[in-house]
């Protein structure tokens, strides 16, 4: 992997956010608004250190890219340390860099909130956890980080704990994430049992030792990845997670945490290289998630939920990329996505702030005049996510889609192209409906098709009494908008900084020449994307459509296909498959236990297990003689076995 040397600042990168969290937690009441400054500094310093590492790494020639810091040794096979190689460097750069911008934005966004110190303590803690995840040089450290980011996400989704929906969403996210944690735990169990070590270097050097467990290990790792990265069918928590504050959505549920699954697969590339079954599985799930997320995005009206589904869809692209072993492409898409998706979320946050917490795009309109910074920045980001040539997403999406073909997965190639068209359509739909035409918020909600309007809730303290300086929110959005344009240029050319980093990280593979060249792929993608934009334009942005906007939106709301409105019936299927049968079973056994344990599928599993527990419990009658009988019975079974053995010899 070309790791050599040490970089003592790694400790600083890793621990300064934790220090920030502790300070904010302990001295919150004294700090008041200064908590924001502490929070920003605690992530700004690591960003500078990471940037320095990036500079060193991209300028260096030869094999030495990255650094390794040893923390402590345990039994043989357990060496804990920090690792900064190109892969973790990219992630650390995004976590601290984009994270820093989002922290600055949060100072403005959370200005009126009284619990601002608690908020920044959680945010800094999240950054620390995420850095633990990506900087660890072994599976155990990765899993610790994996669990801690889930915990931080739980706290932040439920930050406004007086909203019942936020609490429910937090719990759902936590439960699904724990399922993923457990899956990874099992994968580590298996790896250690076979290889006898948990450090990346050793494990990846002994992939053949996994034998026929290889696919199982990949499967369990991917269950963890899918839970964290909201891949079908473990995606249902992500849209609900939008109950958290918008900066949280931008940082955790768009730019960083949800891409941990991509990181995991890319980190474990030697495993995926060795298992074609795992490639098929992960690539297919990624492709389906990309398409499914895009389709669901078409049917949403809530601006944050649209972005949530688009996140799910874009992560689907990344997972597809790393799944088909086009690792560089998948990672590149993570890199560009972090900028334009954070930009979209933060821009949406400005709009939501401007409209006093209205999130339904049907009740927006004409926002280009009221929020010009958001308008321009989001325009760049929408072009980037659609893959418009020259914008950041163009480079990485092209690479992912072409990578699928190049590595022999033509059906995923087709999925990727179709999804690109849908993506362009629904993102421009969002953009046109929100920013063009006239403001519709003062119309009767029913007139634009909103059947159950959510009045601006009292969950956020009233705005206006103390407004933050406007630049606090505008500047990060503008910067991210700029990066949505230029982030892709680091990848151009074989001697670009990007390629200098990654050609050594991932092995070059011998690939057959695909039927369609990269140039053709670009052309096809452009045509499909242009078609998507054109349809969105015709439906929402022609002068006629703008004039008739309320009626058209109402009609669309009423005619929306049920399959999309009900989110492909995923929650219903889970209900039918797990919750209802186990409820029936529970009634059958006449003992219903803990009716609101946890959500959905997990509840079903618990039910079934509990019934089995009841069976064991039923054996325990409390009567001495029955216990003696059980013991004698067990002894008799033993005696039979041993008598047979005695006779046999």
């Amino acid at each position: 992997m070309g790791v050599a040397g040490s970089y003592p600042l790694l400790f600083a990168i890793w621990l300064v956010p934790l220090a920030g969290a502790i300070v904010n937690w302990a001295f919150g009441p004294q700090l008041k608004r200064a908590a924001g400054i502490v929070g920003c500094v605690a992530i700004g310093l690591p960003f500078v250190a990471t940037l320095a590492a990036w500079g060193i790494a991209t300028q260096s020639s030869g094999a030495a890219v990255g650094a390794n810091q040893h923390l402590l040794s345990w039994m043989p096979g357990f060496d804990f340390g920090l690792l900064l190689d190109p892969l973790s460097l990219i992630w650390a750069l995004i976590i601290t860099g984009v994270g820093f911008l989002i922290h600055v934005y949060s100072v403005g966004y959370m200005w009126p909130d009284t619990a601002i110190a608690r908020f920044f303590a959680y945010m800094n803690f999240f950054v620390f956890a995420m850095l633990t995840l990506v900087l660890s040089d072994n599976f155990v450290g990765l899993l610790v980080g994996w669990g801690l980011v889930g915990l931080a996400s739980y706290f932040l989704i439920g930050f406004w704990f007086f909203k019942p929906t936020a609490v429910a969403a937090a719990r759902k996210a936590f439960v699904i994430n724990v399922v993923g944690d457990v899956a990874i735990m099992f994968a580590i169990f298996m790896i250690f049992a076979k290889v006898g070590s948990t450090s990346f270097v050793t494990v990846f050097a002994h992939v053949p030792a996994l034998g026929n467990w290889l696919f199982l290990v990949c499967l369990f790792l991917f269950i963890g990845a899918a839970a964290k990265s909201a891949q079908i069918p473990l995606h249902t928590w992500l849209p609900d997670a939008m109950e958290g504050p918008t900066p949280v959505s931008a940082l955790i549920h768009a730019a960083t945490m949800v891409t941990a699954g991509v990181y995991l697969v890319a980190r474990c590339w030697p495993l995926w290289n060795a298992s074609h079954d795992a490639q098929v599985l992960v690539g297919t799930i990624g492709g389906l998630t990309a398409l499914g997320g895009a389709l669901l995005g078409v049917a949403q009206w809530d601006i944050k939920r649209i972005l949530a589904y688009s996140t799910m869809s874009q992560i689907g692209y990344m997972i597809m990329g790393v799944g088909v072993t086009a690792y560089q492409a998948g990672v590149a898409h993570f890199f560009t996505h972090a900028f334009f998706k954070a930009c979209l979320f933060l821009g949406a946050g400005i709009v939501i702030h401007e409209l006093a917490d209205e999130q339904d795009i049907r009740r927006m309109g004409g926002m280009r005049l009221r929020a010009p910074v958001a308008f321009f920045a989001m325009f760049a980001a929408v072009l980037a996510i659609s893959g418009f040539p020259g914008f950041a997403g163009f480079f990485s999406k092209d690479a992912v889609v072409f990578g699928a073909l190049e590595h022999g997965f033509p059906w995923l190639y087709v999925l990727g192209i179709v999804t690109a068209g849908i993506t362009a359509y629904y993102m421009f739909r969002l953009f046109f409906v929100t920013f063009f035409g006239t403001y519709r918020g003062d119309l009767d909600p029913a007139q634009v098709g909103v059947t159950n309007p959510v009045e601006p809730a009292a969950h956020e303290p009233a705005h206006g009494e103390a407004h933050a300086p406007a630049w606090l929110m505008a500047a990060p959005v503008a910067i991210l908008g700029v990066f949505s344009v230029i982030a892709g240029y680091v990848m151009i050319g074989s001697n670009s900084p990007w390629n200098r980093l990654f050609t050594q990280t991932f092995p070059s593979q011998n690939l057959a020449v695909p039927a369609l060249s990269e140039g053709w792929t670009t052309a096809i993608l452009f045509i499909v994307m242009a078609a998507g934009i054109a349809i969105a334009y015709v439906r929402y942005a022609t002068p006629a459509a703008l004039a008739d906007a309320p009626a058209r939106l109402r009609a669309e709301s009423q005619r929306m296909p049920a399959v999309l409105v009900r989110l492909f019936y995923f929650d219903d299927v889970i209900d039918w498959l797990f919750v209802r049968p186990s409820q029936a079973l529970g009634r059958f056994f006449g003992s219903i236990f803990d009716p609101d344990v946890i959500d959905g599928a997990v509840r079903g599993v618990v039910r079934v297990n509990t019934e089995l527990g009841e069976v064991v419990r039923g054996m325990q009658t409390g009567l001495l003689r029955s216990y003696a009988l059980v013991i004698v019975f067990g002894a008799a079974l033993f005696a039979v076995y041993y008598a047979l053995q005695g006779v046999a010899h």
Binding site: Q620, T621, G622, L623, L624, R625, A628, L629
Partner: protein
């Protein structure tokens, strides 16, 4: 092994003590009075003692004899403690049917 030193064949000792042992086991499972259960347990232990003595003789190894004395000593302590426990249970219930003693279950 010096089985010829025994007055009757070694197998007979094994058979007898097995029978005594299983009478003891049956007593524990079937009887409802803890005192009788304790006696049945003594039966099980003494079946083992008989085996120890027979084998000690067969192997000409005194360890079996010593073991038997050890078991007798421990059994005495066991009986003392057992009776005390039965007495405190009896004091609080005035009834020692073990089928009536099932506060805790599940």
């Amino acid at each position: 092994m010096h089985a010829d030193l025994l007055p009757v064949a070694l197998a007979n000792y094994v058979a007898l003590s097995s029978v005594i042992f299983f009478i003891g086991v049956a007593g524990v499972v079937l009887r409802r009075n803890p005192l009788i259960m304790l006696m049945s347990i003594e039966l099980m232990w003494n079946a083992a003692n008989l085996l120890f003595l027979a084998f000690a003789r067969a192997w000409l190894n005194n360890a079996g004899h010593i073991f038997a004395f050890l078991v007798i000593t421990v059994a005495a302590a066991e009986a003392a403690i057992g009776l005390a426990i039965v007495v405190i249970v009896f004091r609080s219930r005035a009834n020692v049917d073990v089928d009536e003693i099932a506060l805790m279950k599940g």
